[in-house]
């Protein structure tokens, strides 16, 4: 059984007990435990069921590479699936449970899948369940989805209890990894004067050197780590952050760091995770190496672990994963595990060493301790189901014939080590195959390069392929000095004296035994998380998959949330063998960020709740809120749609607002309209290019409606342009278009016409703008007093500066409703007060604030177009009958040439018309007018569509505008539109008949607005 040892555990404090639960059972651990070490200490070896076959699975590793020990963590608002037990620090009250089992962890019906494993090979979902076709959607997929998968999603109504944030840091040197290599590299560079940020994903400094032994400068590695950490902490130019993982390296020295602040103390004040967005001039990756499993049958049975992880549990947490542990290896390092276990008083029945001659000095040391070593042997298969009960031994060179069985309750395996090259590779760093160590290592000559073409990422220590302590430190000191030099500091590399027992060479073992029988290969797992076996990769190769990237996707090797940290190298070695190609030629799959999964909360940062996104507010927003506005989303604005009163429906409110405005007086908050000042000697010439109309000839004191097209000729924006002075114009844009139009203008000014003397300024937010609309509008302004608003002083399409009710104003006599109308611009700080004055003074005329829907209906009654309704990015002004706004006198304007192209100039385009239903009903929005026959794709032909459609309370019937083929030539014709209740699956149409009419429904002569 796995158990807590009588002593030991350099991370644990045995005076502090911590209670937690797993699958409802109460457990006790110690402060400093991980969830994995605490469960192991309590002999909870079985932790979950596998993704596909529901095989029992236990802890394999001790760090972020763990593929199996994924649990549901927390409850309610703090529930999260797929949390790695090995990187979850234990805290009091922790609640966890296992995943992907039914009905229970110990008895799982889905394990039947395992019996069917031979029918579920690589790519089975591409080959089976194909017939009958409808069964996929209704039977196969639901069943497979039920059976496969790992954690459950949080409850849809649950809301994350924590907060998150981002942080931007700019540093000279970022060192990722706080093991001995990272510490020494950081110290070397910092002593030379570089500013250093050193980050470490765990809560502890020193990495695995204190576990693996040897000496540094005559000290235990742990003591050297303490001394070095203290030295670094005393340096003002060094910042150190633990519990912070380097998640990804990107162009231009951009690195994402993932800091876990309160995962180990949920509910503590402050953000839970902080996403660091780091700009580093240089990056050193000192990310260590990860041990590889060996591929033998049953290598996934709970109790089979990485040899280094077994050491970690003993040394760091004082936990023995088994009483009797068989060690199986192809290298010397795993002997350290056997020696350590033996010294801790535990039984090691045998070391199975696949190398014919076994190992070197460490083997001798093990033998001296009385451990039996079996060179040239392998494990044929692991015995036991939910727990290792023994191993069957065979010759490594054979096919798996059993020579012996050894009873044991744990297996410590080591297939060698793979440097963690992920961060080096994220931004284009290339790898080379190390033929001696049998791993991929960073190729310094092809490191990621920055904007200057020079490398900005260097790997050092084990991450650079230097696995032994002396080599690791030598490499780290060199890297620290070299990078300090690149940063302009003079540095010398001083390597501390390190001593370790020398190791004899590793022998590559990609399959155990070498010629394993088919039944063994079907149980030899490469990817634990996605249940990919040796036989699956070999099958893929037989079926013609040669590319490692294709094989990955076909077999799902390395595609789980661990991204193949344990399986990639073993898998591609099997593929290389099956293809008869050298491993370096097969290559690796792409390493992509993040290194391990990071929370969505960290990515979202502070953006949730009220600050999920900015909501733009006009100066009158408080009033709208207080007066029960229903909202319409317009870009990031919330504009009042209407203001329902009492029990009014929205529809009733809109009708009331329109009627009140047309009959007496309405009021609109138009502050969101874009207002861009264009000024300079070339401003007129510039606006003649921006607009289809002639703007340079507009007299001072006048307004003109203008159209803006993009260079493809399509209508982009519209609005009223005002001539303020000899050299300045004010361009009104749509509410959503202000920023875009301003950017569009600056683009042309800065990139194309850089020598034109024009300045722009976005004045959108400088002014509150209020439309006073209706037959009594002038009376209201006269009552407020302060300026002459008579038709003589302020005619239609004129403007004037002045004062109203002691407020400085600019009044534009323009109308988007067809009524007598003034749009009044007020300095924004005075907007709210002026709105109040209008309401107060207008009470005698039943002044009625109206919203965007009333605005829309009134403009539609007048046949005015709306950008985004009548235009959709494919419509040109000519389609909308706006030829009158397109100057014929100008040589050029943006879009002119495009509008002369054949497709734009052809006669049979869909053009704007009014539509009047024969029965007075309202046409459905966006509906189409079908035409006889079908097109080449078998779709019904069409001849038009509705762009705007409303109930007109003024005309007491439905009105609409639409684009219809040759529309203006077909006045009076009746055509059919599809009705809203159209059943798509049926061929017969439900239609509504409408007559093509002039789009100006109301006051076609414009008499009401010009009084």
């Amino acid at each position: 059984m796995s158990t807590r040892l009588a002593r030991g555990g350099r991370f644990t404090d045995r005076s502090k007990q911590i209670g937690f639960t797993f699958n409802g059972r109460r457990f006790t651990g110690y402060e400093g435990d991980t969830l994995a070490s605490a469960l192991l200490a309590a002999d909870q070896v079985l932790l979950g069921r596998s993704y596909k076959f529901h095989r029992p699975r236990g802890i394999v590793a001790s760090g972020p590479e763990e593929p199996n020990a994924l649990v549901h963590l927390g409850e309610g608002a703090r529930f999260e699936p797929d949390q790695r037990a090995t990187t979850t620090e234990l805290f009091d009250g922790l609640v966890s449970s296992s995943q992907n089992h039914w009905p229970s962890l110990e008895f799982d019906v889905g394990e039947i899948n395992a019996k069917l494993a031979r029918f579920l090979p690589a790519g089975f979902y591409y080959k089976t369940f194909l017939w009958p076709r409808s069964f996929w959607k209704h039977l196969y997929e639901p069943v497979i989805r039920q059976a496969a998968g790992l954690g459950q999603a949080p409850h849809p109504e649950a809301r994350d209890a924590d907060r998150y944030e981002h942080y931007h840091a700019h540093v000279d040197l970022l060192v990722v990894g706080g093991g001995v290599a990272g510490l020494l590299a950081a110290k070397t560079a910092a002593e030379a004067g570089a500013e250093v940020l050193l980050i470490e994903q765990t809560a502890h400094w020193g990495g695995r050197a204190p576990v693996d032994g040897g000496t540094i400068d005559g000290m235990e590695p742990g003591a050297w780590v303490d001394e070095t950490v203290a030295a670094l902490q005393a340096m003002p130019n060094v910042k150190m952050r633990s519990r912070m993982m380097g998640a990804g390296v990107y162009d231009h020295g951009y690195v994402l760091g993932y800091e876990r602040l309160t995962d180990h103390k949920p509910g503590a004040a402050g953000p839970r995770h902080r996403l660091w967005r780091i700009r580093a001039k240089q990056v050193i990756t000192a990310t260590g190496a990860i041990e590889r499993p060996l591929s033998f049958a049953g290598n996934d049975v709970p109790g089979v672990m990485l040899a280094s992880a077994v050491r970690d549990y003993v040394v760091n947490w004082g936990v023995a994963p088994g009483d009797r542990t068989v060690v199986v290896t192809n290298n010397d390092d795993a002997y350290r595990t056997a020696i350590l276990l033996k010294q801790a008083g535990l039984d090691v029945p045998a070391i199975i060493d696949a190398r014919p001659m076994g190992g070197g000095a460490l083997m001798q040391e093990a033998r001296d301790l009385g451990i039996k070593v079996e060179p040239g042997r392998g494990i044929s298969k692991v015995l036991g189901g939910q727990r290792v009960s023994g191993v069957a031994i065979c010759d490594q060179t054979g096919s798996g014939g059993e020579l012996d069985t050894i009873a044991c309750d744990a297996v410590a395996m080591s297939g060698g080590w793979s440097p963690v090259v992920h961060l080096f590779s994220h931004c284009g760093g290339k790898l080379e195959w190390d033929a001696e160590g049998h791993f991929f290592r960073p190729d310094a000559s092809r490191a990621p390069t920055g904007a200057d073409g020079a490398p900005f990422v260097s790997a050092c220590g084990a991450a650079n392929g230097f696995l032994s302590l002396p080599e690791t430190l030598h490499c780290a000191a060199k890297a620290g000095a070299a990078v300090a030099g690149k940063l302009g500091h003079e540095a010398t590399a001083t390597t501390p004296e390190a001593v370790v027992t020398p190791e004899s060479p590793l022998a590559p073992v990609w399959l155990m035994p070498q010629g394993a029988r088919a039944d063994l290969k079907m149980k030899a797992f490469l990817d634990y998380q996605n249940d990919v076996k040796v036989s699956d990769v070999q099958l893929a190769a037989r079926e013609g998959y040669e590319s490692v990237e294709h094989t990955k996707r076909y077999t799902t090797l390395g595609m789980a949330s661990d991204q193949g940290k344990l399986s990639n190298i073993n898998g591609l070695a099997i593929l290389a063998d099956a293809l008869g190609t050298p491993i370096p030629q097969v290559g690796t799959t792409t390493f992509r960020p993040p290194y391990t999964p990071i929370s969505f909360g960290a990515i979202a940062g502070e953006a949730r709740g009220d600050i999920f996104q900015p909501l733009r507010r006009t100066p009158m927003q408080d009033w709208h809120e207080a007066n029960n506005a229903a909202w319409e989303i317009v870009g990031q604005w919330r504009r009042p749609y209407c203001y329902p009163r009492g029990g009014e429906t929205r529809h009733d409110a809109v009708n009331r607002e329109i009627t009140a405005t047309r009959e007496s007086l309405g009021l609109l908050d138009a502050s969101t309209l874009g207002k861009i000042l264009v000024k300079g000697p070339d401003a007129g010439r510039f606006l003649d290019m921006m607009y289809t109309n002639m703007m340079s000839t507009l007299p001072v004191g006048k307004c003109r409606y203008g159209l803006m097209c993009n260079e493809n000729g399509f209508l982009m924006d519209d609005g009223v342009v005002v001539r303020l002075s000899e050299d300045s114009w004010l361009c009104h844009t749509t509410s959503g278009g202000a920023d875009h139009v301003h950017a569009h203008m600056e683009d042309w000014l800065q990139c194309e016409w850089w020598d034109w003397k024009v300045y722009t300024a976005n004045l959108t937010e400088q002014y509150a703008q209020i439309a006073v609309v209706g037959p009594n509008a002038r009376k209201l302004l006269e009552k407020l007093g302060g300026m002459d608003v008579s038709p003589e002083a302020l005619p239609f399409m004129g403007w004037a500066d002045g004062s109203l009710a002691d407020t400085p104003v600019r009044v534009y006599r323009i109308s988007f409703s067809g009524e007598l109308s003034y749009e009044i611009a007020i300095p924004a700080n005075r907007g709210r007060a002026f709105w109040g004055k209008l309401l107060e003074a207008g009470a005698e005329w039943n002044i009625t604030p109206y919203g965007t829907e009333a605005l829309h209906v009134m403009r539609a009654e007048k046949g005015f177009i709306m950008i985004g309704d009548e235009s959709d990015g494919t419509v040109i002004p000519q389609d909308l009958g706006l030829n009158w706004a397109i100057s014929k006198k100008k040589d050029d304007y943006l879009g002119k040439r495009a509008q002369e192209r054949h497709d734009m100039a052809r006669g049979d385009r869909w053009k704007l018309v009014g539509l009047k239903t024969l029965d007075g009903s309202v046409l459905p929005d966006g509906c189409y007018a079908p035409a006889p026959g079908k097109n080449a794709n078998g779709q019904r032909n069409t001849q038009g569509r509705v762009t705007s459609t409303y109930w007109s309370p003024t005309l007491k019937k439905g009105i609409a505008m639409g684009l219809v083929l040759n529309g203006p030539d077909r006045m009076g014709e009746v055509i059919s539109f599809t009705a809203e209740d159209q059943d798509e699956t049926r061929d017969e149409l439900t239609t509504v008949e409408a007559r093509i009419v002039n789009p100006v429904f109301f006051d076609p002569k414009g008499e009401k607005q010009d009084v």
Binding site: K239, L763, Q766, N829
Partner: protein, 189 residues
């Protein structure tokens, strides 16, 4: 009640930094080339030195902020704007320049406290370290999701400006990120 109401008037929050909405502030945007002629002309007209790139010049209740290679922001008392506009327009009569009153277009905040640099580094990708952002400097960047300007007035006080419509958002974002427990202790020890 005065007719003049600054955005977020009276808003104030205290956390790791104090965030306070400022009363109405006169803001005149100047767009012009920064040749010697223009520098001299403007300095003479205002009686103020011309700011360095990314810098500012302060004179009592007035300040001149460098905003871009062809843009400056002149801060004056709110009630003084008309007079200053008039004299500047007179001084630059016939010159190619845009002098625009934007006093109502932005929300201004004073943010202060020992954690100032760290809290600002949560919302802007600009380097907020002392060597990257010395006292007196101005940066145009963003504040979380909106455009923002930062003027570092002292080691622990900055003036932050955003467009007026997003003043409430900026206030909420800064206040949220300044909640206790969010100390970073990276730039501010």
């Amino acid at each position: 009640m005065s007719d003049v109401m600054a955005p977020n008037e009276g808003a104030r929050s205290e956390g790791l930094i104090t965030v306070e909405a400022l009363p109405p502030q006169g803001q005149i945007t100047l767009r012009c080339e920064m040749s010697e002629d223009y520098r001299t002309k403007l300095s003479d007209a205002l009686g103020m030195a011309f700011p360095d790139q990314r810098g500012s010049v302060t004179d009592g209740d007035r300040a001149l902020l460098w905003m871009s290679p062809d843009e400056l922001l002149l801060l004056v008392p709110y009630d003084a704007v008309d007079g200053v506009m008039e004299s500047l327009n007179a001084a630059f009569d016939g010159w190619f320049i845009a002098i625009t009153n934007l006093s109502d277009a932005r929300a201004q905040f004073r943010v202060s406290g020992p954690h100032l640099r760290d809290i600002l580094a949560k919302v802007t990708p600009t380097d907020m370290a002392p060597r990257g952002f010395p006292v007196g400097d101005v940066r145009r960047s963003r504040l979380a999701q909106v455009a923002a300007g930062y003027w570092l007035r002292s080691e622990d006080e900055a003036q932050v400006f955003v467009f007026r419509s997003v003043g409430a958002y900026a206030f909420e974002a800064l206040s949220t990120l300044a909640q206790p427990g969010g100390e970073v202790n990276f730039l501010s020890a």
